[in-house]
Symmetry: C2
Subunit: 169 residues, 2 copies
Amino acid sequence: MSDGRAAQVYSGESLLFLTDEQLRQGIEAMFFAYRGFTADPDRILGEMAYGRAHHRAVHFINRAPGTTVNNLLAILGVTKQSLNRVLRTLISDGLVESRIGTSDKRERHLFLTETGLQLEQQLSDAQRARMRAAFRDAGPEAVAGFKQVLEAMMDADMRRAYVKLRDGV
Amino acid sequence: MSDGRAAQVYSGESLLFLTDEQLRQGIEAMFFAYRGFTADPDRILGEMAYGRAHHRAVHFINRAPGTTVNNLLAILGVTKQSLNRVLRTLISDGLVESRIGTSDKRERHLFLTETGLQLEQQLSDAQRARMRAAFRDAGPEAVAGFKQVLEAMMDADMRRAYVKLRDGV
DNA sequence: CTTGGAATGTCAACAAGGCTGACGTATGCT
DNA sequence: AGCATACGTCAGCCTTGTTGACATTCCAAG
């Protein structure tokens, strides 16, 4: 179960950072930080008729314009029905454009409209501002560690998606 | 709005870690990592009739046994109606005990029962296992940076709550 | 060339878990 | 005595996840 102490005993190095206490701290840090992470966009979204799901969709469509619904599904990790509801409102509100695929007409390729781009900017500006403040406070080495731990925490599938986006498709 | 480039220009130091590109990476890392973070407990909870909300309640009651409802409310950042729904099921299922306060009889002090402790163990074992693997992969310095950035990302209230829990009430 | 299966996307209905608002009860404090 | 506080509850709403059923399109095997 909890091998923090065991690891400590069996190793010459200081593995104090792997104690259950340290792990619990990490868990609670993730919990509280994620709240801060989503707080600013949530506030903006609350004023419109949108939610966090809309934010995610808009974010990733902006990141990979022309992506298909299936693609987006895999990245967001929700069912197509769930995503579809969100996309439907975004499309009918004129934030997202859905173009039928040219080679495969079953596919829909998604793009942000001018209005969609504006919302994306507004949301990501807010979120980046907080991230920037945190990065600046913590410094470049801390940021490197931050990313390293987060990457190690992802499921393998998500790590692939993350790296792919990071390094440019 | 996005002052990453501006900061770069105005400073002698390398502030490349504050570019919009780096910030976006941080944002996506948070998104994907949080999914991994909750994945294991979610799987366990899915098999019972419980959800993430129950996990959070159980976690913090375990962390601060005897805490009051109001206290828990502040930490979880939800409404009492929302929390109450969760607590009601946990109490009636015999995982949580609610004792009327001795000094102030309006308060209810919350404790985990034996069964409640078992569930908490099961959930936190799963979550710690992933955190431990990530910490081990990344190493102690990365972990320090990880915590530093997360702490800087919290709202002030949450940072207070986090530090209080971390340093022992 | 046809046809059946796989892939893609849409519609409908339901559940969890947020939220607000209103109210009741018990207790504490001035 | 009367107001404030802590808690519980009912009702009703919204977002966002789920499953099931279904239409369209593509492709490959016969």
